[in-house]
């Protein structure tokens, strides 16, 4: 089982390209409100995570995901 911090670290690195405002990312950084990801960019980001962990992330979980921390927790649950 991968540690929560490892999920966070992967998400930070996966977001590097899309972090156009060069924000200092933390688990409280909001994907849309802070980083400004478009819906298409969110889907590309999700796909990157899916391929890295070899999982599928159901669309249903996305309404509950606002921050990088929310997503790290969901991905950890799915990868258990």
């Amino acid at each position: 089982m991968t540690d929560y911090q490892e999920y966070l670290d992967f998400l930070y690195s996966a977001l590097a390209f899309q972090n156009k405002k060069q924000l200092v990312l933390s688990e409280d950084t909001a994907l849309v409100a802070d980083i400004g990801l478009s819906s298409l960019e969110v889907m590309e980001f999700i796909e990157k995570i899916e391929d890295h962990f070899d999982i599928s992330i159901p669309l249903n979980i996305l309404p509950d995901v606002n921050t990088i921390g929310d997503l790290a927790k969901k991905v950890r649950e799915l990868n258990l």
């Binding site: 298409l40 889907m43 669309l59």
Partner: protein, 401 residues
């Protein structure tokens, strides 16, 4: 504020009004034939109506509708489960099942209700749905209501579907896979032989929406699965009466006898009035015509090739292959709107498609071809696009890459 979320749309509509352009909800004041009408005061060729076989204006279909209205009245005023199952509805269900060579069929009041209703009901909490990323809005609406886990696979990508089925492990055999025959916006056809092969390897149930391919593809017009020779791999076929059949309504057919129990669980079937008898009668007449006149399909494809080749010849960014839907893809919104308006002024009505209705961030001038178009009409459409190119309305930056 409750209304804040609508501000972007209100601004867009205001922008269109300021430019005196009305691409959404343009009013048709008169229908002159299956391919000509008066829209917003202009006589235009109808090149965005999905009337693939031109049957909306076929005298046999019109007569059938008139006779049925006289015999049965204008509406059923009730649900199929209450007073709204007339013998006409039952007859159409038998005929559509027979057309597909299966035993079970449900007729819905709209195509949207058919796909939304089936997708919201077939899978439920604890189940998994795998759907093509470019699926129609009615499919997305349905799966969202289902309560199942919703997983998208890349559009027309059987490898991605296989990867996601593999990730489900033992659950793959119970998954519901959703694809379409011809995709409505770009006109591309699903690689159904490959999708069927993936399904055979991993298991699952395949639901195929043939809304834009029924009547257009396949030896007897059953659609993309028939054309690909994989009908035995499809568990549920859905479709609409509002395109090739020229009326309104939808259907789902299946070889699975369970469809008869499913019928009583679909809210979009139970809690809405059934189709007016006139609609059912014209649909039955149109289905007979599809069976008896395969030359209509040939004419449709001749016209599709003529338009596709013509637009491609102008250097316009169209899809990879000819299809009854020919979409010209552009990146720039003002340029696309200007082109749409110029086409109207040239006497050609097409669909303007903006995201999220288009499958990417691009804008579309979406043309749909009919068997009823004459060669001269197709050439007029091509000439209208040619004038846009000559007039510099299509610039390298306005074209999508």
């Amino acid at each position: 504020m409750l209304f804040d979320k609508f501000q972007t749309m209100a601004d867009f509509q205001a922008e269109l009004a300021e430019r005196h352009v009305k691409p959404f909800g343009a009013v048709t004041e008169k229908i002159l034939s299956a391919t000509e009408g008066v829209v917003e005061g202009r006589k235009v060729i109808l090149a965005g109506t999905n009337n693939y076989l031109g049957l909306s204006y076929d005298p046999r279909c019109i007569k059938a509708a008139q006779d049925a209205a006289a015999q049965w009245g204008t509406g059923t005023t009730g649900s199929r489960l209450a007073n709204g199952s007339f013998s006409e509805h039952q007859a159409l269900e038998s005929e559509i099942a027979q057309f597909y060579g299966v035993d079970h069929a449900i007729v819905f009041s709209t195509g949207y209700a058919a796909t939304m209703g089936m997708c919201s009901t077939l899978a439920g909490p604890g189940d998994t749905i795998l759907l093509d990323a470019d699926s129609h809005a009615s499919i997305y609406a349905g799966v969202k209501l289902s309560g199942a886990d919703i997983i998208r696979f890349k559009h027309n990508n059987p490898e991605d579907l296989a990867k996601r089925l593999r990730r489900l492990g033992d659950g793959a055999g119970q998954a519901l896979i959703i694809a379409e025959g011809i995709y409505s916006m770009m006109g591309d056809v699903a690689p159904l032989q490959e999708i069927a092969a993936v399904k055979r390897e991993y298991g699952g149930y395949l639901f195929l929406d043939e809304a834009h391919s029924m009547g257009a593809l396949g030896e007897t017009g059953r659609g993309a699965a028939q054309a690909a020779g994989v009908e035995a791999d499809v568990d549920f076929f859905a479709g609409t009466f509002s395109k090739s059949l020229g009326a309104i309504g939808g259907f789902c057919v299946s070889r699975h006898p369970e469809l008869e129990a499913i019928r009583f669980c679909i809210n979009a079937y139970i809690f809405t009035a059934s189709s007016a008898p006139s609609i059912i009668a014209s649909t039955r007449a149109a289905l007979r015509i599809i069976r008896e006149e395969p030359q209509l399909r040939q004419r449709l494809w001749d016209n599709a090739h003529r338009l596709y080749d013509g637009l491609k010849g102008l250097g316009l960014p169209v899809g990879p292959t000819a299809s009854p839907v020919v979409a010209v893809e552009m990146e720039d919104r003002p340029a696309t709107i200007a082109c749409w308006q110029a086409l109207m002024e040239a006497g050609v009505y097409v669909n303007l498609v903006v995201p999220p209705a288009s499958p990417s961030t691009n804008f579309l001038l979406r043309n749909s071809v009919s068997a009823a178009h004459s060669s001269a009409q197709i050439d007029t459409i091509i000439d209208a696009y040619g004038s846009l190119v000559a007039g510099g309305l299509f610039t390298p930056t306005s074209k999508a890459h």
